[in-house]
């Protein structure tokens, strides 16, 4: 039983990472209706940039700041070059455009920083927490716990940002109705620029934590793809959904891998979340926290 909980907790903690990436998707989707497939590539780009700057001998806080500036530049450029010419196109067109963006950002990242894996050392210990090991006989990594805490703080900060600041209110207005927001004088494109920057920031945090765990490497983009089933579970428009969905995906895929995997030869982590999401879609297409959509004729 202890083993079961150990796997569960490990899964939940890695699920926090999925939540983080999914959060980036939700922010952009809410504000601009764009399903940003490139969020994974942005995580990769952010992680490589962060690691690259550290490797130049810059201290971690400064490197973080530097990478954040780069992500803002990337976000604003994306809004200008990719989204503005595509305004009012069908969602599916925008989606395909972000697939193009994915390729572009991946190529750019590897040209700028090289394709090899870079290590990120944040100075956080990755060891079992002794207290839990002694009292409950479970291995829970201190790193995972710290990462989860950081993610939790980030979500709280974002929630407060949306709820209590003027920009946050404008963002929610834009999310509700573009035209109505425009008509009361909210500068739409300005807002989009901000939201892409915030998504860049979230990508940076995710990339930093993930990179510290497994190294900043190309595989990050695949891990980031797992945010898609997370969104299907949680609903595309719900921040809370992104978090809960991430936890569900993280824990079930680990449990499935450990308990079902051996029966079929292992490696089912790669597709299990998608198939889970698929079955979920059939039952509840709008997600756990999404809004139900009625077709009007």
């Amino acid at each position: 039983m202890a083993f079961f909980f150990e796997v569960l907790i490990g899964g939940l903690l890695s699920g926090v990472m999925y939540s983080l990436v999914a959060l980036g998707f939700v922010l952009i989707y809410k504000a601009s209706g764009v399903f940003n497939f490139a969020q994974g590539a942005m995580v990769y780009f952010a992680a490589l940039t962060f690691a690259g700057i550290i490797d130049m001998g810059v201290p971690i806080p400064l490197a973080f700041l530097g990478a954040f500036v780069v992500m803002i530049a990337l976000g604003v450029a994306t809004e200008r070059i990719v989204l503005r010419p595509l305004v009012n196109q069908p969602q599916i067109t925008l989606f395909m455009a972000t697939i193009g963006l994915t390729f572009f950002v991946e190529g750019l990242a590897q040209i700028a920083w090289g394709a090899s894996t870079r290590r990120i050392d944040l100075g956080i210990q990755d060891e079992p927490i002794p207290w839990i090991l002694d009292n409950m006989n479970m291995v829970v990594s201190s790193f995972d716990l710290t990462a989860a805490a950081i993610a939790g703080v980030l979500v709280a900060v974002l929630a407060a940002f949306f709820q209590y600041t003027k920009i946050g209110r404008a963002l929610r207005a834009v999310a509700d109705d573009h035209q109505a927001a425009l008509s009361i004088g909210i500068p739409l494109q300005h807002i989009w620029g901000i939201i892409w920057s915030v998504a860049g920031f979230v990508a940076l945090v995710a990339g930093m934590l993930w990179g510290a765990r497994n190294g900043a490497q190309f595989a990050l983009t695949f891990v980031a793809l797992k945010a898609l089933p997370v969104l299907i579970l949680g609903g595309f428009t719900s921040v809370l959904g992104a978090i809960v969905g991430g936890l569900i995906i993280g824990s079930t895929e680990k449990l499935a891998e450990v308990f079902i995997g051996p029966m079929v030869g292992g490696g089912i982590e790669n597709w299990f979340p998608y198939v889970l999401a698929l079955f979920f879609l059939l039952v509840r297409p709008e997600g756990l926290f999404g809004e139900k959509h009625i077709d009007r004729v």
Binding site: L86, M96, F104, G107, I111, Y274, A277, L278
Partner: protein, 358 residues
């Protein structure tokens, strides 16, 4: 001046519904086929066959398949490569396990297997649309590659799932040289291209487009949504499956499940977008573009940077390729969403009235 349709009157609906209603077009396509079947085999080099012509034809077929699903029926798929994989491994197993099976039949059966898998993963399309569906097809992508790698039976228990194509012959001709492989591929692609065009211009294609453009209205005029969507999945996957079988038997010879990655699926999607969503011709343009672009970049970039005095590695070139792909996709979606096929059409319109501007 030579491209005029003056004096060509249609006296029957049959004449009006031809694939190429303009006489000059019919002559041109005839010449093109003669050229492809008789002139090319005589003059092309080994390199041309195996690095350019055969992959171009095969990817045209795969793009055609995806175009049927995405361009005509409006169902976005990110799993084309998985359906190709099913076709390749299906054909391999039919030749391996069914004695005396004709190779062509095995290829087609590979396509049928892919169609079956396509229907299975197309089932969610009855409830979900757009990028939700894209996630469903991602499930196909990852699941299929995993299953082909994990279960040794599919690859006859070879190491890491690699299959090597058996020797085969068609109508008594051993398909053992690049020329013969090219001719076989060309024949299959030409026939399947024609069949696709016929479907597109008949009730099947119209039903697909109706579902794509407005599904509620389609249902109201009596088009069965479920059947129409699943048929699109089946036909599309069949085309991808046959393309996959050709990858194994006419292009690479040995192939492993990991060849059919998500990246390949994306490339096929790019062919469709750049070539022209919802056109048969566009699939060929798109495939040519995506096959030729890396070769072109390789030839151009090295000397270009050499002039600037910078040595660039092939890794940089392949990353630039990624950036160019990505940039072009965005460019085409923003500027010419109907792709190269639309540009071609505009060019033809201009030619019809040339030298006058209107």
């Amino acid at each position: 001046m030579f491209y005029r349709e003056t004096g060509q009157f249609k006296t029957s609906y049959g004449a009006d519904q031809q694939i190429f209603p303009i006489r000059q077009d019919r002559i041109a396509i005839g010449l093109l086929l003669v050229f492809a079947f008789f002139v090319v085999p005589a003059v092309a080099t080994q390199y041309w066959f195996s690095a350019i012509l055969i992959p171009f034809l095969i990817f045209s077929l795969a793009a055609l398949g995806l175009n049927i699903l995405t361009g005509y029926a409006g169902q976005l798929s990110l799993g084309s490569a998985a359906f190709m994989a099913v076709g390749a491994f299906g054909a391999y197993n039919f030749i391996l396990r069914v004695p005396e099976i004709p190779a062509i039949l095995a290829f087609l059966m590979g396509g049928v297997c892919a169609a079956g898998v396509g229907i299975l993963f197309g089932l969610p399309s009855l409830r979900i649309k757009g990028f939700y569906l894209a996630v469903a097809t991602l499930a196909a992508q990852f699941f299929v590659v995993w299953a082909l790698t994990k279960f040794g039976w599919f690859s006859n228990y070879s190491s890491s799932g690699v299959i090597s194509s058996q020797d085969f012959s068609v109508f008594g001709f051993a398909i053992d040289s690049p020329v013969r492989k090219y001719l076989l591929t060309l024949s299959i692609v030409a026939i399947m291209g024609l069949l696709a065009k016929n479907m597109a211009r008949s009730n099947t294609g119209r039903s697909w487009m109706a579902v794509r453009d407005m599904d509620v209205a389609a249902e109201v005029i009596g088009i069965p949504l479920m059947k129409t969507k699943l048929l699109a999945f089946a036909v599309s996957s069949f085309y991808c499956g046959v393309a996959g079988a050709l990858v194994a038997y006419c292009y690479l010879g040995t192939v492993e499940p990991d060849y059919f990655t998500l990246d390949l699926s994306f490339r096929i999607l790019f062919m469709v977008i750049i070539g022209g969503v919802g056109t048969i011709l566009g699939s060929f343009f798109g495939a040519a573009f995506i096959v030729l672009l890396p070769i072109f970049l390789n030839i151009v970039l090295h000397p270009l940077f050499a002039i600037l005095g910078i040595e660039i590695s092939s890794a940089v070139v392949s990353n630039m390729e990624l950036m160019v792909f990505g940039g072009l996709i965005i460019f085409f979606l923003a500027v010419e969403p109907h792709g190269l096929a639309r540009l071609w059409q505009i060019g033809k319109e201009k030619l019809r009235i040339w030298p006058f501007p209107h």
